[in-house]
């Protein structure tokens, strides 16, 4: 079993007006096979948390720690974090012109595993994973995310998650922009990975819709760079009914 532990994390970014603190002390422990949902108003810092875990250089950790089975994640470069077993499905996946999906997937898999996958089985694995996620086979020859629709990009993020088999996945609004069928397909993918690959999941979302398919063990309410409340799956339903006013009023 693995553990991803975030302790009293403070994160700032450089803005034109100077340094701005976005995360103001976040603590969170995720274990293998657990699903943690994070919900919260726009701008509360959810993506900041996700990107900081992945190591995006824009975000500066001013104090606190992130460890993976005791290893200091903040000391690792972006690619080392991926190799250590962290995966971020991005809210806005980036288009990379000139690099085909096939080439990209193989290069990434080789980097993560430390050895090239056996060509025969790899090609088969990719094909099958694509089929399960209802991604057309000709996407393999297209450039990474280039011209993909919003929903297609999200599906391709999950495809990578299934192929790279991370220990922990952070899904940043992967459900946004998915149609009803795709939402189901993608959720099945996440559940599959969790069962087959012994994965823990941090699921950032605005909607309880996806939580019908992916059952969260914990729900965290994110407000103004902090976790304002924690609970079980029932908290999500309550948020959907009441909104975030309750938390925002407390602040005011």
């Amino acid at each position: 079993m693995s553990t991803l532990e975030i302790k009293d994390l403070h994160v700032s970014i450089d803005t034109e007006q100077g340094e701005k603190e976005i995360l103001k002390g976040v603590s969170l422990v995720i274990n293998t096979n657990e699903t943690h949902a994070i919900m919260g108003p726009n701008g509360s810092g959810k993506s900041t948390l996700a990107s900081t875990i992945a190591g995006h250089p824009r975000y500066k950790v001013t104090s606190g720690s992130i460890t993976l089975d005791g290893a200091d994640v903040l000391e690792m470069s972006v690619d080392e974090r991926a190799k250590a077993g962290l995966f971020l499905a991005m809210q806005y996946p980036v288009e990379v012109p000139g690099v085909t999906m096939t080439n990209f997937l193989r290069t990434a898999k080789t980097a993560i595993d430390g050895e090239a996958p056996k060509l025969r089985t790899w090609t088969k694995d990719v094909k099958e994973a694509m089929a399960k996620l209802k991604i057309d086979a000709d996407f393999a020859s297209r450039n990474v995310n280039e011209g993909f629709s919003g929903g297609e990009k999200k599906r391709v993020e999950i495809l990578q998650m299934e192929l790279f088999k991370p220990k922990f996945s952070i899904l940043d609004e992967t459900d946004s922009g998915l149609d009803v069928d795709a939402l189901k397909t993608v959720s099945e993918g996440v559940n599959r990975a969790q069962e087959e690959n012994q994965m823990g999941t941090l699921l950032i979302t605005h909607y309880t819709r996806i939580l019908r398919y992916i059952k969260p063990d914990f729900v965290h309410v994110f407000v103004d760079g902090r976790i304002a409340e924690q609970g079980g799956a029932e908290l999500a339903d309550r948020l959907e009914e009441e909104g975030y006013d309750r938390f925002l009023n407390v602040q005011a």
Partner: protein, 426 residues
């Protein structure tokens, strides 16, 4: 005319730094109609074959560009001229003023046996059939070229492949004239492979006869001290296709000016280019497509990468669609990828349209910094920084490499790109 100069300041790039202005895409910014029917379409376009004095007037239109076989017709260069303003004249090895009597690079032919190479005298009538000097250096090269080498692809030849290896062995300013004749309905690939060291004013003419299909790769793989000004002109006859691919890696200062003129209907011209400028290198490409007759098609795509302090690239794309050229379909684009600080990319697409009866015409120019978000995305998938950069640059340039259509050469270029990238100190 529209123009972009992108100068990347010496500032350390940071991933995700407050959004670095990405790619600037220009729309279809057509220049106003130039409908003076009497405009002296002297240029390369309609000049009768004479070895005499100059014609044409100097104005902003490409059609009015002075052309002449007589170097004295071109005023002394100041560096302020429209077509010289980006070129550091100090570094051009006096090619515009010197007596170009140095040893011209050696020319060796390998490849298909039915393609022949012969030498003719400077005053041979064949010289200038498809060529008129259009700047002072080219005219100076014309004056001093000691004869010309003529490569002939015989009529109806199928699928020939020839390699002209041009080896420079001296830094004395020299002149060279090459003529490539693709006879009727021939099908050929010609690689002009420049290696070694030279200070060279070179003129190359391509006579692409009716129904011929000529693919040319001009490869500038010079040593780092070479200075090379090359005017490469093609006349493309009815039903012919001319595909020209420039690849420039080597040399201190390289200035290649490809120009192609349609001389008959239903012909096609494709001009591609790939350049990779390192610290201190000046790589300039100025091309001209002259749509002088109806129903022809042209496509231009140049892609360049820049890295290192003082790497400077210039791309100027003149496309002229003359009044007679109804039914023209034309597109030109230049894309630059900036890999490090301290480089400069000038890009000037220049499209002139004298008739509204065309199928299409457009241009685009983008100069973008290596996008750090690309890097983050790839690295977040476990790919190390160096590999990630290579993936992106290789992908960017591959579009041109693929145009070459020759496995051996494509492999050699891919290797060269790898070497260039390996030399990057990022």
């Amino acid at each position: 005319m529209s123009e972009t100069t992108t100068q990347i300041p010496e500032e350390k790039a940071r991933i995700g730094a407050p959004s670095i202005p990405g790619f600037t895409e220009e729309g279809e910014n057509l220049s106003p109609l130039n409908d003076s029917a009497s405009s002296p379409l002297a240029g390369a376009s309609s000049k009768s074959h004479s070895h005499g004095g100059g014609e044409g007037v100097t104005d902003s239109s490409r059609a009015g560009r002075l052309t002449s076989y007589n170097v004295e017709d071109f005023p002394k260069l100041t560096g302020r001229e429209e077509d010289w303003r980006f070129t550091p004249l100090k570094r051009i090895g006096s090619l515009h003023t010197a007596e170009l009597t140095g040893q011209a690079p050696k020319v060796e032919l390998t490849g298909s046996e039915n393609v022949t190479l012969r030498t003719v005298a400077a005053d041979d009538a064949i010289r200038g059939n498809a060529f008129t000097p259009d700047d002072r250096v080219s005219a100076n090269g014309w004056k001093y070229a000691d004869g010309a080498q003529v490569l002939t692809i015989p009529a109806n030849a199928e699928n020939t492949k020839s390699i002209l290896r041009i080896t420079g062995e001296s830094l004395e300013p020299a002149a060279q004239h090459l003529i490539i004749v693709a006879e009727e309905n021939s099908e050929a690939m010609v690689v002009i492979d420049h290696v070694g060291s030279a200070v060279l004013a070179q003129n190359i003419e391509f006579d692409v006869r009716q129904g011929a299909r000529l693919r040319v790769v001009s490869l500038q793989a010079w040593e780092s001290d070479a200075i090379h000004a090359s005017s490469q002109q093609a006349v493309v006859a009815k039903d012919a296709t001319f595909k020209h691919i420039v690849v420039t890696f080597g040399g201190d200062l390289v200035r290649v000016n490809p120009s192609a003129r349609f001389a008959g209907e239903h012909a096609e011209i494709e001009l591609y280019g790939l350049y990779f400028a390192d610290a201190g290198q000046h790589l300039e490409h100025r091309l001209f497509v002259d749509h002088a007759v109806p129903n022809c098609k042209s496509n231009v795509l140049y892609k360049g990468a820049l890295q290192g302090k003082g790497a400077h690239t210039v791309w100027v794309g003149d496309v002229l669609i003359q009044k007679a050229a109804v039914g023209t379909d034309s597109y030109e684009a230049n894309r630059n990828l900036v890999l490090t600080d301290g480089t400069r990319a000038d890009s000037v697409p220049n499209l002139e349209i004298e008739t509204g009866l065309i199928d299409g015409a457009g241009h685009a120019s983008t100069t973008g910094r290596f996008d750090d978000e690309h890097l983050f995305y790839l690295m977040a998938r476990g790919i190390d920084e160096k590999t990630a950069r290579r993936l992106v640059v290789r992908g960017f340039l591959n579009e041109i490499v693929q145009q070459i259509g020759d496995e051996q050469l494509e492999e050699r270029l891919t290797d060269t790109i790898e070497e260039e990238l390996a030399a990057t100190h990022l």
